[in-house]
């Protein structure tokens, strides 16, 4: 019995699947770009590192292994919608099982808005292949040509005689067939489910309390743990007094722990108890003396003044350069040189970070709201000196992630606490832990220089100075420019603007930073698209017209047409401010127009947001609209309501009373439109975010003449 066979059987057992079934999966032959589809039903195929993504049993029930996390972005809906289309089954007959972390799935991180765009072509082909195999079995049974048969609603029909087989009746024979190559896929015009605004399959369980999030996971004998971590993030524990804490009813044990934070560590003291509350009470009663030496106790004003100083003197590391922006700007009589600044931010998913771990002699099992099960396996395997395949990572629903739950610190904590206690442990972070401990989105300063001649933009020179998230990861080099320095910037600009450079001025602090929804585009977009507005003014051009002149490709032109049409850009009135921004993020382009005016008290109010998404091939327009709406709400908060600041090495915010989120009362009307085309699928979960802040501040400039170059700003104080 080979290892892969064992893990495959384990895998099906874990998923509660046994008995005869047709299993189709991908096999990525080395050197091949495209996945081969293999019938993995029999043991003959078990030597391959297979990922049994579709499983059809003799009752015709289809189980799909969702290899990515469901954190709100809708993979739980959109992946089945793709499969049901080509497999010709009803959506209600598809069960979705969350896959565990395993190499056979390839990269499993739910990030980069990649769930659909990285897998849809294979999913379509896989489902069509299963359908063709089932049709072929039916045709053989009836002794009729395959061309006389068709599939629909989980059945194969023989058209001339109206006979039919349920898929389940065909499964056993199908398991013996090789997977056919080169099946014909449907055309977009033939879709019955794809591109339809179908209701999400996971809604019912999210309206009656039955959806299981990480925090809801329990195991027999499980104890609860909370950790008092060094508030300066990098320090250690000098000593602690647990006398009072041990007297709290329910508290079982208190000890020092050293947890992984990317490639560094943090120290803390853990309180293990019989309920979350008892553990929290124990933590309150703890007295810990910290050692905070050996690293700088940074403050926010210092961060930005240093960045400003560095941007004055350093050219940084070039990421890309075309033409000669320095010379063009130096010779221009119409040059601009300004700085934009964006804040540190917390991800603050409403479900705080938590994790259940059960450390046993021969394996470690983990359940939690986890965006990257494969990364958890990698880091924990190295850290705990345990073979990767002995670490089983189960993904529950995520109560929001936004990048925070793609990391391994909290599974590591749970694992080492469970190892010490010898029982299953759930670690729960309080909201205060979440906000004060990070990791946070890095705060960045951008120096933007440019020139216009005869109404045309002739040069752009961008320098970014802020922490590079990649430097926190193991094995990353620091002598190259941050590859995300130009994220968000539209590629067609390279065609029309001859002189462009992007550079990173490297900047470090002891504060851990990490990907935050739409990552660097979330901040780059504000700098680059605000600057484009400033250049339009300098060039004496309407801001939308300037973009139209410079974004000459067909997709951009159509996007701009749509933006102009839905917003009534050309018909805008005197007392209205209109702002535009267009950004690229994870292979999708989103254009937004924001309309503002002044209320009776002279305060700015946002009257309307129009967003146009071009994500190419897509699955569910309603999910896309929901993602863009949500991205805009998140961007509104980050632009106008909240920021993380530091003083003496400590985060100054603690909970939602001082890290204020948008509420229902803050939300302007948002209309979302989707472009129809056949281009390759782009991302959906994040690209709606970056364009909002610059569209808003550009609109405020249009109304008031006041240019906002630093986020966040108080909408009421403009």
């Amino acid at each position: 019995m080979s290892n892969s066979e064992v893990s495959r059987r384990d895998f099906l057992r874990v998923a509660g699947l046994a008995g005869t079934a047709l299993c189709l999966g991908f096999y990525f032959p080395s050197n091949a770009e495209e996945a081969a589809i293999v019938n993995t039903s029999g043991s003959a195929a078990a030597d391959f590192e297979m990922n049994p993504w579709i499983h059809i049993n003799i009752n015709g029930k289809v189980t799909l292994f969702n290899h990515r996390a469901e954190m709100g972005q809708g993979s739980y809906q959109s992946v089945p919608q793709i499969i049901a289309e080509e497999l010709e089954v009803d959506l209600k007959d598809i069960d979705v099982a969350s896959a565990i972390g395993h190499k056979k799935y390839g990269n499993q991180i739910t990030g980069g808005s990649s769930t659909i765009r990285s897998s849809y072509k294979n999913l379509l082909k896989l489902s069509a292949t299963a359908r063709v195999m089932l049709i072929s079995v039916a045709a053989t049974k009836w002794a009729v040509p395959q061309a006389e048969c068709y599939a629909q609603s989980g059945h194969v029909f023989h058209k001339p005689t109206n006979r039919k087989f349920h898929y389940g009746e065909l499964v056993e024979e199908a398991t013996k067939l090789p997977a056919p190559k080169d099946v014909v896929l449907k055309k977009t015009s033939e879709y019955k489910l794809i591109r339809k605004p179908l209701k999400r399959l996971d809604t019912p369980m999210k309206t009656n309390g039955t959806a299981i999030f990480g925090i809801d996971k329990t195991l027999p004998g499980m104890l609860y743990a909370v950790v008092e971590r060094n508030p300066r993030l990098r320090g250690t524990v000098k000593s602690f007094d647990d006398t009072a804490a041990m007297r709290v009813p329910g508290v079982k044990k208190i000890f020092k722990v050293k947890m992984l934070v990317f490639k560094t560590y943090r120290e803390g003291v853990v309180v293990v108890a019989t309920s979350t509350w008892a553990a929290m009470q124990g933590k309150k009663a703890l007295k810990v003396e910290w050692d905070d030496t050996g690293f700088e106790h940074i403050s926010t004003p210092l961060i930005y003044s240093r960045q400003m100083e560095m941007l004055k003197t350093s050219e940084g590391l070039f990421l890309s350069k075309q033409g000669n922006p320095d010379e063009t700007i130096a010779q221009s009589a119409n040059a601009l040189d300004v700085v934009y600044q964006t804040p540190y931010q917390s991800h603050t998913p409403i479900e705080p970070v938590n994790c259940v771990a059960h450390y046993q002699a021969d394996k470690l099992e983990i359940w939690g709201p986890i965006q990257a099960p494969d990364m958890v396996q990698d880091y924990l395997s190295a850290e705990l000196k345990m073979p990767r395949e002995k670490i089983i990572v189960h993904m529950t629903f995520l109560g929001g992630g936004f990048g925070r739950k793609a990391f391994m610190d909290y599974p590591h904590e749970a694992a080492i606490i469970s190892r010490e206690m010898g029982v299953p442990i759930q670690v729960i972070w309080s909201r205060e832990d979440d906000i004060t401990q990070g990791p946070h989105r890095p705060g960045i300063s951008y120096r933007c220089q440019g020139a216009v001649e005869n109404g045309m933009v002739t040069a752009l020179k961008f320098r970014m100075c802020g922490q590079n998230n990649d430097h926190w990861m193991r094995g990353t080099k620091s002598n190259k420019a941050n590859g995300s320095t130009s994220e968000g910037f539209l590629k067609p600009y390279y065609e029309s603007i001859k002189n462009i450079s992007f550079a990173e001025v490297q900047f470090e602090t002891p504060m851990p930073t990490m990907w935050w929804r739409s990552v660097y585009a979330s901040t780059n977009g504000f700098a680059y698209e605000s600057f484009m507005d400033e250049l339009a003014l300098k060039a004496g051009k309407d801001p939308l017209a300037l973009r139209r002149e410079n974004l000459k490709d067909e997709r951009s032109q159509k996007l701009i047409d749509r933006m102009e049409e839905v917003s009534g850009w050309k018909k805008r009135k005197k007392n209205e401010g209109f702002g535009v921004a267009i950004t690229e993020c994870f292979a999708s382009t989103v254009g937004q127009i924001v309309k503002v005016s002044k209320d009776g008290n002279g305060k700015i109010k946002i009257d309307q947001v129009w967003a146009v998404m071009d994500c190419g091939w897509y699955v569910n327009p309603d999910i896309i609209k929901a993602q863009v709406e949500g991205s805009i709400v998140m961007a509104l908060g980050a632009a106008t309501l909240h920021e993380i600041t530091f003083s003496d090495g400590l985060v100054q915010q603690r909970n939602f009373y001082d890290y204020k989120m948008p509420r229902i009362t803050d939300i302007p009307p948002i209309d979302v439109y989707i472009m129809e085309n056949e281009a390759d699928a782009g991302g959906v979960g994040e690209p709606g975010l970056p364009a909002f802040a610059p569209a808003l501040t550009n609109a405020i400039f249009d109304l008031t003449g006041k240019r906002i170059r630093k986020l966040p700003f108080d909408l009421k104080a403009v």
Binding site: K206, N208, G209, A278, I350
Partner: protein, 155 residues
């Protein structure tokens, strides 16, 4: 021992009377639909009904809940068919879904007190419930839809 009546069922639990109801419901009774989000009555993820009133269970001590009728999201309807639950499904309101037990429980009290809520009523009743996924436009839409359903002889 503390006696709690949750969703028409009696529970006796051995806990500190100062313990917030939230943790008793989740960790001791095992009903996990009610969520922890902030612990300080800022986010509304933990809203339950106490004698028909919306309260934040993260700051409601057990001694206050004792002897009262407690309703959690699991007890809002028998078959997930409260007009709000139906409307939430119709509009596909939830994204991650974590905050929606609290959203629905807050909205249920609103609909009981104001069967035809205006946008302003919705703002007033729902401003205490945070949604990080930003589903607010759909929450508003679904509450209006549920009010319509209720009028047409729903639950």
């Amino acid at each position: 021992m503390i006696k709690l009546n949750i969703n028409q069922k009696a529970h006796e639990i051995d806990a500190d009377p100062e313990m917030p109801l939230l943790w008793a419901i989740r960790d001791l009774v095992g009903l996990t639909g009610t969520k922890y989000g902030c612990g300080v009555a800022q986010c509304g993820a933990c809203v339950v009904h106490l004698d028909g009133e919306a309260v934040r269970s993260c700051v409601t001590k057990l001694k206050r809940a004792q002897g009262k009728q407690i309703t959690t999201i699991e007890g809002l309807s028998e078959n997930n068919d409260h007009p709000l639950q139906l409307a939430w499904n119709e509009v596909s309101v939830p994204q991650c879904g974590y905050c929606h037990s609290g959203q629905i429980m807050s909205a249920a009290v609103l609909l009981k007190e104001k069967p035809n809520p205006t946008d302003e009523d919705i703002d007033n009743a729902m401003a205490g419930n945070l949604c990080r996924c930003g589903t607010y436009p759909r929450i508003r839409q679904a509450i209006h839809m549920a009010a319509e359903m209720q009028k047409k002889g729903g639950v």
